[in-house]
């Protein structure tokens, strides 16, 4: 559909877990490609395999079979240290639970990916400050996560994802731990990043969020059930709409059900 080389290309990706003596097939053959600059929602009910897919996309987990190419490179061929570097340089994670390091300030949290890339401290600090300014939290840079609200924490987490100028921002239920209004703000922020040209993949089980993005990939039983492209809406418009909508905070721990224990 698009002429540009995809950021992500998955071919017949499967993932099988050993759960005691039982083998669980979390993914049974996923094919998908995401082009640069896309905003994609991956949806699916609990146990559909979407968290597993997210882990594979984020190079936190290697697939059992199939081919995953990240910017054309087959991920399975990359050694662990190379994967760490890929995660640090090309992927920005945004988690449901924010996952800021509690003893580091907002600024230090944002600096973290750069520090593992051996960026000199001065430059690191400047870039982290820029990223915090970008998401509107420059004034909070010296605060510890515990001193920030949930929405602020998630914005710091987004700044941390952004700071390395990644090829892909992966957001896993980014609004899952937030009230609906804050969630909408975060969503609006992600849409803005998309509007600026970032590739954003967000995983959600909330169909209403999914409905608002240009492309939705629905996962069910470890397979792509539906890959639908809707009309892209203006980010600001969506954000305005969303702010008006009262919505319950989605459940938080349902994805755990898909993890074999």
């Amino acid at each position: 559909m698009t002429a540009v080389a995809p950021v992500i290309a998955l071919e017949s990706i499967t993932k099988t877990y050993a759960s005691g003596r039982v083998w669980v097939e979390a993914l049974r053959g996923i094919n998908l490609a995401i082009a640069p600059g896309e905003l994609v929602a991956i949806t699916g009910p609990s146990g559909s395999g979407k968290t597993t897919l997210m882990e594979i996309l984020g190079c936190l987990l290697q697939p059992t079979a199939g081919t995953y190419r990240f910017k054309g490179r087959p991920v399975q061929a990359i050694p662990p240290d190379g994967l760490a570097r890929l995660r640090g340089e090309d992927i920005g994670f945004v988690f449901q639970a924010f996952n800021l390091l509690p003893r580091l300030t907002a600024l230090e949290n944002v600096e973290l990916p750069l520090s593992y890339r051996r960026v000199p401290p001065r430059e690191r600090r400047a870039r982290a400050a820029d990223a915090l300014a970008r998401i509107g939290l420059a004034a909070r840079s010296r605060h510890l996560p515990a001193e920030l609200s949930g929405g602020e924490r998630q914005r710091v987490a987004i700044a941390r994802a952004l700071v390395g100028k990644p090829s892909l921002i992966l957001a896993d239920e980014p609004t899952g731990n937030l009230d609906s209004q804050t969630g909408n703000e975060i969503l609006g922020l992600l849409r803005e990043l998309h509007a600026e040209g970032n590739t954003v993949v967000l995983v959600t089980h909330d169909p209403r969020i999914a409905a608002e993005v240009e492309r939705t990939i629905a996962i069910r039983d470890g397979l792509v059930e539906r890959d639908a492209r809707g009309p892209a809406r203006d980010a600001r418009e969506t954000a305005r709409d969303a702010r008006g909508t009262a919505r319950d905070a989605p459940g938080t721990a349902r994805d755990l059900a898909s993890r074999p224990s």
Partner: protein
Amino acid sequence: MHFREAFTQALRTLRAERLRSFLTMFGIVWGTASVVFLMSWGLGVQAMLEAGLARAGKNVVMAWPGKIGEEYTPAGDRRELWFTRADVDGVRRRVRLAEAVVGEGRFWGPIGHGQTTLSTDVRGVEPASMDIHGTAIAAGRAISGADLRQRRRVVVIGERLRRRLLGGSGVVGATVRIRGQSFRVVGVLARVGTQLWRDNGEEIDDQAWIPLTTLFTLDPRPGRDPDVIDRILVRVAQRQDYEALKVELRTALANRLRFSPTDEEAIRMASPIDLLRKLPVDQTTGLLLILGGATLLIGGIGVLTMMLDAVQERRQEIGVRLAVGARRRDVIGQFFLETFVITGLGGLIGLAIGVGGALALANLEVPDLIPVPILRGWIVALAIGVMTFVGLAAGLVPAWRASRVDPSVTLRAE
């Protein structure tokens, strides 16, 4: 940045569970302090024992005559041997390992001054006796060659004997009676102190030294010669030459006195070196090191379990670090450094206590046989070495465990 972070994190880990941290740190502190202190103290004990043994004379070997052994006299008439001054000269010429040689005689006798009469250990000495026994003169002079040649009735007395016999004043020049003869006190020996090795007599501090030749006139000598001495004293330069010196000495005397050099009963020998060798100094030091090291090890195990728990509690953090680009070795390095900081912190405190304690006691004035610690650079180096080993060993498992954390915890668990 990384070290600062490791340091603050180490402090946080310590603060998380205060009691446990206290006990763990206590183990490290106590262990390091005891390695330093016990080793220093061990050296002190060794020095104290060596000093106590050396008070009779450093590296002195004493030989006295016996009887020909039974297996060397088929007839059964065990010939009795005696030494004369000529034998002393013979030893002086023949025994190359001997640094100094003297012949001495002795008897038990009354020594009197005014109303006081004491029974004491009277020694007939040569000028070189001062050197052999390592004694100094506190007042007056020592027994001289002229004293011997002229058989003068002069005496040099030990410090304690002086106090008991003469009290405080007018010591040098005073007249005392030994076996009814008048002797002039020409000198007082400096205080020697408690001897751990004695030759069946009083300590030097209680002895009265007179010229050897004067002693011959005072005390009828057994045997045919007028200048029969009771013992030959030699000093060996190097302690490791002791055995060789004994062989040389026995051979030289065997030639002169016509007995078999293998005859153990013909002459007897004794030396404080015998005792020094029997002292389990190295074993004691080793034991002390093991004791201190074991304490340190227990502290290390405390740090190990504490860090393992910290890794368990911080799985989420480790996952986040891995997700944002940390390599396994970054995580290993971080936890290694943290463990090392905790151990190093306790170790430095312990080192300060151990060194401080050893130094504080080192300069204390104590009685002769109380050891004081002796601090040496190698002890501090050893303690740092053991401490470093414990720190590294304690960090190994937690760091490895941390690096095995599955980064997907960031997505799965809460």
